[in-house]
């Protein structure tokens, strides 16, 4: 920053307020950052959220448990399929439902496919923020193939309503496993193309290396979870460290990078995609036969009580606290959504960045507005 003229040089400058959003191409939704700018340097930043607030926690109190399940896909709409997972786990704890083994495997497969699709969106939209349109279409084409798979099992592509209380909605169609293997091969090929174009690109490195490095202590302090946490050097993944479903049966690595800057957050997603592919392949090989859905009463009344369940969603830890009063509707639902907690670091790290670096920073945090505002 020493290159810029400051007031110390005897030149009067004026700070101004720039409202980045809510309608802005790079905020990935209706996020607004109220920036105080000195020329192109951010002096301070403030998160302004709530433009997408739909009062979903209140809506949950007015409808039955089964009716609320599709709502959960609407929070983090980029990883719709794995959103109901924590909700279903909480309900299963509440009702002591035992989920059939095959259903657990299918949940892992669909969940990991959705994680891949979600990370592909992150990679694509991040480079799109640096105006790299061609790599973006590469990863979105790769994502298309995965969305086709999700459509085949659930009937929808974006808001995949596949997980239900007690298992999954339906069994996989015939030949789906072979198609999945083929789609993963195609996806990896496209990902390689993408990496060849972007990862070593001098311009990309210049825009991401050393931008807003988050230390391990800061990441824990601000409650960052998910890939952004592991990019800061904290070795924590719920799938390995407090396994839910059948994750303990698969062997996979948890990639961890020390640096914590924008590039590391990008790189970690690439590594995670490759690990997710391993999990899907193992699960497809060892997929057991049997039922895909436990018997759950149509009019379901869990015993009064509380349950909390959390999963490692695509953007971090997604948790549901459900309180039951014994009726067909939840008494209270509260959710811990990863995007909401992850953006808390923005005001702390923004000062001193240029506007371009700020864009690089918020793109690498990978938040989804539906997940922040609910």
């Amino acid at each position: 920053m020493g290159d810029f003229i400051t007031e110390a040089d005897g030149l009067e400058t004026q700070e101004f307020i720039l409202n980045l959003g809510p309608q802005h191409p790079s905020t990935h939704g209706v996020y607004r950052a109220r920036l105080i700018m000195d020329g192109e340097i951010v002096v301070s930043a403030e998160n302004k959220i709530g433009y997408l607030h739909r009062g979903i926690e209140k809506i949950a109190e007015g409808i039955t448990y089964a009716q609320f399940t599709p709502y959960t896909t609407r929070f983090d709409y980029v990883s719709g399929a794995m959103q109901p997972w924590a909700w279903c786990l909480a309900l299963e704890k509440l009702g002591n439902t035992v989920v059939p083994e095959r259903a657990e495997y299918l949940r892992v497969i669909v969940g990991e496919l959705q994680r891949i699709a979600s990370h592909l969106v992150m990679l694509g939209s991040m480079v799109l923020d640096f105006s790299a349109i061609t790599p973006w279409t590469y990863v979105f084409n790769a994502r298309e193939e995965i969305l086709d798979l999700l459509e085949a099992v659930s009937g929808s592509r974006l808001l995949v309503n596949y997980f239900v209380n007690g298992g999954v909605n339906a069994d996989i169609p015939e030949g789906w496993a072979a198609k999945t293997e083929a789609a993963l091969d195609g996806m990896l090929k496209r990902l390689d193309d993408f990496e060849r174009m972007v990862s070593g690109n001098e311009i990309f490195l210049g825009r991401t290396k050393g931008i807003a490095p988050v230390s391990a202590a800061e990441a824990i302090e601000y409650g960052i979870t998910g890939a952004s946490l592991r990019a800061s050097g904290v070795d924590f993944d719920m799938r390995r460290d407090s396994p839910y479903s059948v994750y303990d049966r698969f062997s996979f690595a948890v990639p961890v990078i020390k640096g914590g800057d924008s590039f590391d957050r990008y790189q970690l997603r690439v590594l995670e995609i490759r690990e997710s592919v391993k999990i899907v392949r193992q699960a497809l090989k060892t997929l057991p036969d049997g039922e895909v859905r436990a018997k759950v009463a149509k009019v379901w009344r869990p015993a009064p009580g509380e349950a909390y369940a959390a999963t490692e969603a695509a953007r971090g830890i997604m948790g549901y606290q459900v309180v039951s009063d014994g009726s067909t509707k939840p008494y209270r639902v509260h959710m811990r959504s990863p995007s909401f907690c992850n953006i808390g670091i923005i005001p702390a790290k923004a000062p001193g960045l240029t506007l371009q670096d700020f864009i690089s920073f918020i793109a690498s945090l990978d938040f989804v507005l539906g997940d922040i505002d609910r």
Partner: protein, 353 residues
């Protein structure tokens, strides 16, 4: 004015392949009518050119990006741009209440005027150069800098923070990159010994300058991309940072004018590159102007290829790259060229190549 009319007259005649003496000489009042026809013809040529460029860009982008591109309106989607233009003409003219009205309204007109002026200087072939100037290159560079002014006017006049930031960036960028561009051209001027574009083009009938001055060519391409504010130097409209940069507040025909100006500049800058480095209209078998247009379109495709491959560079790195790398290299190239010319003259006894 009469001289200018006559040159335009001759230029379009050259394109149409009409004989040098025509009806205009026999009937005086035909002169004015024909001048009008030729003017309209020249403008239609410009518009068709822009439309073709946009179509090529979109189809090429589709090819690079594993998608189809526009293919619905007309054969191969050729009429898509016309469709889009008509749509844009029908859009509401929105002007910010706090805009600086005069500056805001002049800016889009200025950018198109400048682009059209640059078309007039290009040597499309022997006998079809609309305006021959003995200081053609200087005039070309001077006129193309006026673009900076129109972008800054648009940025300032809109009274919008994004527009202003975009406009300010442009001034810094275009003015900085004009220096290495001019320095890369000086090498050519030294070799040819002329500032006239036509002379430079015809001097390359044996060997293209791109083989004589490869370093200058690389510098020229980089600084031309920066001058045109094309990726990786598209700071001015940096959509992901400034929404649409200087033309955020423009709509309808005013936006169309900016868009047209941008593509017209892309053509004229590529044409300058062809004149300086690829022998202009020189080429066997085909008519010269076909060679000229063809080479220019290849050059444009090359620029688009760069555009669809790279990301946007950081502003501070861009400036550092210019002042600390590009300008020293182009100065060194200039020195080498001068020494090379002297050695060549000593070796061959010739005055110049």
């Amino acid at each position: 004015m009469v001289g200018f009319l006559t040159t335009i007259f001759n230029w379009v005649q050259g394109f149409l392949g009409l004989p040098a003496t025509s009806l205009a000489d026999a009937l005086p009042w035909w002169d004015i009518l024909w001048a009008f026809v030729y003017f309209v013809g020249a403008i239609i040529l410009l518009i068709i050119n822009v439309i073709m460029l946009i179509w090529i860009e979109r189809r090429a982008a589709g090819f690079f990006q594993e998608r189809v591109g526009p293919n619905r309106v007309g054969p191969f989607g050729l009429l898509q741009t016309i469709n889009d233009t008509i749509k844009l003409l029908g859009k509401e003219w929105i002007m910010p209440a706090a805009a600086d009205k005069l500056v805001y309204l002049i800016a889009p007109l200025l950018i198109v005027t400048v682009s059209v002026t640059m078309y007039g200087l290009l040597p499309y072939g022997p006998g079809i150069t609309p305006v021959t100037l003995n200081v053609g290159i200087l005039f070309f560079l001077a006129i193309s800098s006026v673009n900076t002014l129109s972008v800054l006017m648009a940025g300032w006049g809109s009274n919008n923070k994004y527009s202003l930031l975009g406009g300010m960036r442009t001034v810094a960028q275009i003015i900085s990159y004009e220096i290495p561009m001019a320095l890369s051209i000086i090498g050519i001027v030294m070799i040819t010994g002329s500032l006239d574009l036509g002379t430079i083009a015809s001097a390359q009938s044996h060997v293209w300058n791109v083989f004589v001055q490869p370093v200058a060519f690389v510098i020229f391409v980089i600084s031309a991309l920066a001058e045109l504010t094309k990726s990786p130097f598209d700071m001015t409209e940096a959509e992901q940072e400034f929404v649409a940069g200087y033309h955020t507040e423009y709509s309808g025909i005013r936006f169309t004018l900016f868009f047209m100006g941008e593509y017209a500049n892309l053509f004229s800058m590529s044409a300058l590159g062809v004149v300086l480095f690829f022998g202009g209209a020189n080429g066997p078998f085909l008519p010269p102007w076909v060679w000229f247009i063809g080479k220019t379109y290849v050059f444009i495709l090359f620029m688009l290829w760069i555009r669809w491959t790279f990301l946007r560079i950081r502003v501070d790195k861009m400036m550092k790259f210019n002042w600390k790398i590009l300008i020293p290299i182009s100065l060194a190239n200039l020195l080498l060229t001068g020494v090379g010319i002297k050695i060549w003259q000593a070796a061959t006894g010739a005055i110049r190549w």
